[in-house]
Subunit: 449 residues, 2 copies
């Protein structure tokens, strides 16, 4: 994913770059990425996608074919396009760690770079970071809603294209899912891959039991059989003698999958059928339009379901398929900047987020302030890139996943819950208020002439 | 996009393939892709993504690195993985044309191929077709809601990854958008690219008017200036003398952009300021959280807005970020098949959709039936691939766009509307009812033993 990303940008980034170049405006710019607000039903967000963002910045080049196309487009001057051949991202990046909870107005990533560089990368940075963060946040809610259950990402087929399928598998794994059905995500990142069987396998056989036997014998070490194609309980009942017969041949049926109807009701009935048939060790796996609320309901009802395939609604973050995020200029040439558009005003300057912990080590509130205004608590933004190069190798996905689990574990109970809670407190320090007022006075004094 | 797609599949497709191979189950399978139901606020869907689906099928190969990874994963038998080296898709595909409206239960694509081939391709086919269709459908509603206005896709930054940004730009263009801000989509498909300027450009200057002048002079043939960074009307007022001064140097300000506040109210005020200042030819462009309903309201209010940048809500199809679609086995080895899971039963057999036209040439209702049961009307599914090869070159995007426009034009008025209408009639022919009953009797007779 390191090449061919230079044109994953909005045209205006390139036209602005040309205009900056015309005026020699290549001094240092500071941009910060943040989310403006949360939907009421979300109490926190989880930051994800940093490694892809850093890959993008390190690898950013214009290929010859891209330069040729830009020249032919007629939208940019040829000598400006020529200059892009040497383009490299040479800036600095500070960011919060992947898997860390964050809240509105808090910068999660800061880019400090010559203005044209910092401008060009806006589109793809937002594209990578907002999507993984929105999915990681949704997936984390699923994990919290179904403690101790195995959750597997099943969503590639209805993800928004291939990259969405890959990045959502990664984000869900970070958030605590056990793995994914997407084979490519297994190859790319070593995420454990899981699979069951499809209705088509059953339908392609003239007998459902024959289908079960064929599939089980193909994977004697353990298979998951889909039992809802025609009649769930009838299939479970018929499976009992088959599973015993297969066991005598060393063939193990590991689980059955339910995919339709009232999953909880079917699970209770199927569990009883399996237990009464001596198949206590056969697990029950369920899927079908699941999200955090359905997982909570099934868990609360103590439905005997050991694992869940969770797909579309998490991969598309169906109730909130995007974050109201922004990447805004906060300083240029040493001067703090501020946008004041209605409802979209921003806090100026280079900022830091301090997270205060209570006596039990749980986050008690954050302070948003300027980088040089040290406050109590843990500073969340840390250096990750200097001069266009990563400062350290990427952590492993398992490390990120463990960090996320620890962070979720210590979130206040109300914030962890699925229902809307009182907002997590994010205070704006006096120093930042003072700077914003100073910037306003400067803008008003400069006027617009 | 032709290589490296073989592992964009669910693990179970590969495990089922291995099990099919064990049993020599490689006879002809018929799968159809369809949508189960629509959300109440959608009256029609637009089919899109066929060309990417056919590219995928034609180019499908397992690369050596993919085969090596599969061998190492331990989830498949080595000799089965070896056999994948020669895998090619050799099947037939029939489909409705891109840009054609469709409705629940209607097959939009039929794959007829040896069972293992037809099974493997399920995941990526759905991934490509459902996403472009969901975006094309949403974008078409925007086009219908704002007749005569220029609509431009601005959504790459909050699309679900890079491919989502590209495919949604394509889908929106098919649906009638004028173009996109995504440069890569311009290079890949020749979609016209549009750009304005960002708040950061204004903020990076000490004076807003200086920013306007710098940008305008960089693009003397015409530029769009963003005027809401501090105070929209004040910026418009200050622009008047600047624009006249620039015009004397041959520098043209083509448009201004509004991006915050009440867009309609600002547009009326700004239009008056520009007109009174003699800038009648300067257009007004607006953006910011737009969707079909906001476009309809602004259009109904006769807001003097000439064009709209429409982003996130269309690129993510925010109110319906996925379709309840399925790719189901309808026939194997010459025998019609049917899934009967609760709430998810399917119509068996190879099917065709006939669209009846009224005296004015408008669709009056569809008939869903078997391919050999000819009905009045136009058969929508047409052959597009035989033996794994396309039957004809892909139509140009302009051709697809013109087809879509003509199809939207002739849809019944209530179906074209944004509000929920009486469902478009889709009848199931007696022949299909009869086949479904026959399949049910066969399944019941076979039992599950």
């Amino acid at each position: 994913m390191n090449t061919g990303q230079a044109l994953l940008t909005d045209l205006y980034q390139l036209t602005m770059m040309q205009a900056y170049r015309d005026r020699g405006m290549d001094r240092t710019a500071v941009f910060e990425l943040f989310v403006r607000q949360l939907l009421p039903q979300r109490n926190f967000l989880i930051f994800a996608g940093l490694e892809q963002a850093l890959d993008f910045l390190e690898g950013l080049r214009f290929a010859d074919a891209e330069l040729n196309w830009l020249r032919g487009s007629g939208q940019l001057r040829p000598e400006f396009v020529d200059s892009l051949a040497d383009f490299r991202f040479t800036g600095d990046v500070d960011a919060i760690a992947e898997g860390t909870p964050f809240f509105p107005d808090e910068p999660v990533l800061r880019v400090v770079a010559p203005l044209p560089e910092a401008q060009l990368v806006e589109t793809r940075l937002m594209n990578l970071l907002q999507f993984q963060s929105v999915v990681a946040s949704k997936a984390a809610r699923c994990v919290l809603a179904a403690p101790g259950r195995l959750l597997v990402d099943f969503g590639l087929r209805r993800a928004h294209g291939a990259e969405a399928g890959m990045l959502s598998a990664r984000a869900a794994f970070i958030a605590g899912f056990a793995g994914t059905s997407a084979v490519e995500a297994g190859m790319r990142w070593g995420i454990p891959t899981y699979g069951t069987m499809a209705h088509s396998f059953v339908q392609a056989h003239d007998s459902e039991l024959e289908a079960f036997e064929h599939f089980a014998r193909a994977f004697p070490q353990g298979s998951t059989l889909l039992i809802d194609t025609y009649d769930t309980e009838a299939a479970a009942t018929a499976l009992v003698p088959l599973a015993h017969r297969l066991a005598r041949d060393g063939v193990r049926v590991r689980a059955v999958r339910l995919d339709s109807g009232d999953l909880g009701e079917h699970a209770f009935k199927v569990r009883r059928i399996l237990d009464e048939g001596g198949l206590n060790q056969v697990l029950i796996f369920a899927s079908g339009n699941l999200d955090e609320w359905k997982l909570r309901d099934l868990t609360a009802a103590r439905a005997p379901i050991d694992g869940f395939g969770v797909g579309t609604r998490v991969n598309t973050s169906a109730d909130m398929p995007y974050l109201d995020c922004a990447y805004k200029l906060q300083e240029y040439a040493g001067v703090p900047r501020r946008k004041r558009s209605e409802g979209k005003a921003t806090w100026p300057g280079r900022k830091q987020v301090y997270r205060r912990l209570d006596a039990q080590g749980r986050p008690a509130g954050d302070t948003l302030t300027l980088v040089d205004d040290v406050q109590p608590g843990e500073p969340l933004l840390q250096p990750v890139m200097r001069g266009g190069r990563r400062l350290a190798p990427a952590p492993t996905l398992d490390q990120v996943r463990a960090h996320t689990a620890a962070q979720l574990e210590r979130l206040p109970a109300a914030i962890r819950g699925l229902d809307a809670a009182a907002p997590y407190p994010v205070d704006v320090a006096p120093a930042l208020h003072a700077l914003a007022e100073a910037v306003d006075r400067r803008i008003d004094a400069a006027g617009r002439g």
